[in-house]
Amino acid sequence: MKHARLLIAAAAAAPLALAACGGADDDGPVTLRMTTWSASEDHLAMLNEIADAYTADHPEVEAIEFDPLPFEGYTSTLTTQIAGDNAPDLAWILENSAPDFVTSGALVPLTDTLSGADGYEYDDLIPAATELWTHDDELYAYPFSTSPFAVFANEDLLAEAGQPTAAELVASGEWTWERAVEAGAAVHAATGTDGLVIRDFDYTGWDNLSTLWTGWGANAWSADGAECGFDDPEMTEALTFMHDAVFEQEAMPGPGTTADFFAGEAAFTVTQISRAGLLADAAFEWDLVPLPAGPTGDYSVIGQAGLGVLTVAPHPEEAADFLAYMTNPENSAKLAQYFPPPRESQLTAEVLGQANPLLSPEQLQAVVIDRIDAGVVKPSHTGQAQLDQAVRAALDPLWTADADVAGVLAELCTAIDPLLAQ
């Protein structure tokens, strides 16, 4: 009995000894890990199918794991994993952090690997799609999803308010922002539901407003990123228009109000076509049309997502080889089921139609294919996260009924000028 206490103490401390015994890396076949922000079962099944076909032919890669992270805070989670020495091999990259990833050396250059891969047809990639992901003529990430913004319309609500359908407005050449807001205001007045919602803006995600201000020829900053564009007359005009639409015409929901188009709570919403899936069980008639024309005419804005190999990945070479396989013409056609591809040859209504059975070939032609080449990407800049916060904070005073639009925008530029200069 005299040792009983000692034994209990030893038992209490035993887990420490166990914890100290860690596993060690082996030299056998490697396992690749890729982070995504989609946990969709369909997406993962397709990715796993491509991965299985790859591992069957590549004994050096034992398995490829797809690791879905929450979309909210995706980049923060990814960078925390990198900081914690737990970097994935491949990662999806959001367009707004593209400049940070592309210019910082965080990603492995891909041009040689991709252009040298058998049957890759590197020249098929559309320059407008790869531009954001290219630095010093070197491609750092593959833009696996290149999807224009468009407008979904709720035909039932428009009819209830005595408004023409969106297609009728397009056909008659009246499809402008002014007319869209007028129709939205009419729906709000007649039905009490909201008029027009720029999805994911919610008075914080300001970069989504580029789907509006591009129609006025406005830009968040100059092409070289050095000069603030928020105090330009075009921007002031565009945001004054929006301010009126929110606070005077009540065509757009105000701050702190939520309205979900896909639940039938708004007449129009500006978003990407990939959201069409949310309309599978819609209880209302709907249509998809291109963005309305602004004072400068027709335009389009595209949203992108990239796929890159991290420099600090455990197995960068194997990962780059898998990336080349995953995005070759054959697999790109598979990816196109869900993500509009950056390949010229695959941008057809037929390929895209497989992905979006709810959309007609005419809708896809008008909204995606005709618009992708001329598309402007959403604003992004080195140090985007910091700029994002600074612009969001400086725009907050704009969202009150009595705001001085020009004054707020001038102050915004004062706030972000030092960041743009960095």
Binding site: K2, T79, A83, G105, A106, G256, A385, Q389, D396
Partner: protein
């Protein structure tokens, strides 16, 4: 197995380790003590002291995670801290939040505890009601409140039934800060309330009886007997609440994301933005050092003040 023979001078022979004379009850007890303490000690070293040391170490570096750079910069981050134009606003928001939270939380907890300490029907029900938010997940609680506080949310809906038009709570600078404070107070006031309740019930009844006989009124009894007797609990709750208030994060992230403008960007949120959103872990660590220093100083001040206002303190 060979045994090493200790090279001991003649006349000072010691029992060999492991030998019958060396393995005394005293040594056995000591070993058991160390083994019992080992898990806690290892946990403290691994999860408290080591990260604390690393935090100081990182604050002396420029660490850009994306670029993979980790370079020694000495005091550069501290110079940047001293010149950071955003810092006064951040510290102001932090002070406003902490002051509002501590005053509201402690006074409400004390009032509730005194009310629920009465021998009335239904006090158990009310105790449960006020304590239950403590058991709710913080983020779930906050998300529900975000919906309630929207412009067209439940709070304004309730106000409209009495003909009042509520503000857009989370979009106005003053109302956003007030909303964050109240949501946090309602979440945690139950914990302090229970601590106060336990302290109130520990006050000897004889003291109240004696003072009543001496003619003391309710206020005098509260001021001269209740307050001094529960002062150690007031100290404890105030330290916990102050330290907790300086570490508020999830509520800010869910309710306001630091806005409108930067009006609710408190120190921890600013730290999070720098480290995890702007990828600048070196400066983030420097802000952590500042937070650590503030918490340390405030706790030391409170601890020193106990001599003045805590009765029965040894």
């Amino acid at each position: 197995m060979t045994k090493a023979v200790a090279d001991t001078p003649p006349g000072r022979e010691q029992p060999r380790p492991g030998g019958p004379g060396w393995w005394t009850a005293r040594r056995r007890d000591r070993l058991a003590g160390y083994l019992f303490a080992a898990p806690q000690l290892a946990g403290t070293v691994l999860f408290v002291l080591l990260p604390l040391g690393l935090m100081f170490w990182y604050s002396l570096h420029d660490w850009n995670v994306l670029a993979g750079g980790f370079t020694w910069t000495g005091a550069e981050n501290y110079e940047r801290l001293a010149a950071d134009p955003a810092l006064p606003g951040v510290l102001g928001a932090t002070a406003a939040f902490s002051a509002g939270l501590v005053v509201l939380n402690l006074s409400l907890a004390l009032v509730l505890a005194i009310l629920l300490n009465q021998r009335l029907r239904g006090t158990i029900v009310f105790r449960t009601i006020f304590f239950s938010p403590v058991a709710v997940t913080l983020v779930a609680w906050t998300i529900v409140w975000r919906f309630l506080l929207q412009d067209d949310g439940g709070v304004n809906g309730l106000l409209s039934t009495i003909g009042a038009e509520g503000p857009n709570w989370l979009r106005g600078e003053a109302t956003a800060m007030a909303a964050v404070i109240v949501v946090q107070v309602l979440k945690n006031v139950g914990l302090n309330m229970v601590l106060f309740l336990a302290a109130l019930q520990g006050v000897p009844k004889e003291l109240y009886e004696a003072s009543t006989i001496d003619g003391a009124g309710a206020w005098t009894r509260f001021r001269r007997i209740t307050m001094p007797m529960i002062s150690p609990t007031i100290l404890l709750t105030s330290i916990i609440t102050v330290v907790g208030s300086l570490q508020v994060f999830a509520q800010i992230d869910v309710l306001t994301s630091g806005g409108p403008g930067t009006s609710t960007t408190v120190l921890v949120y600013y730290l999070y933005q720098n480290a995890f959103q702007f990828h600048d872990f070196g400066y983030g660590a420097t802000l952590s050092v500042l937070l650590f220093a503030i918490v340390l100083v405030l706790t030391v001040i409170q601890w020193q003040m106990r001599r003045k206002w805590v009765v029965h303190e040894d």
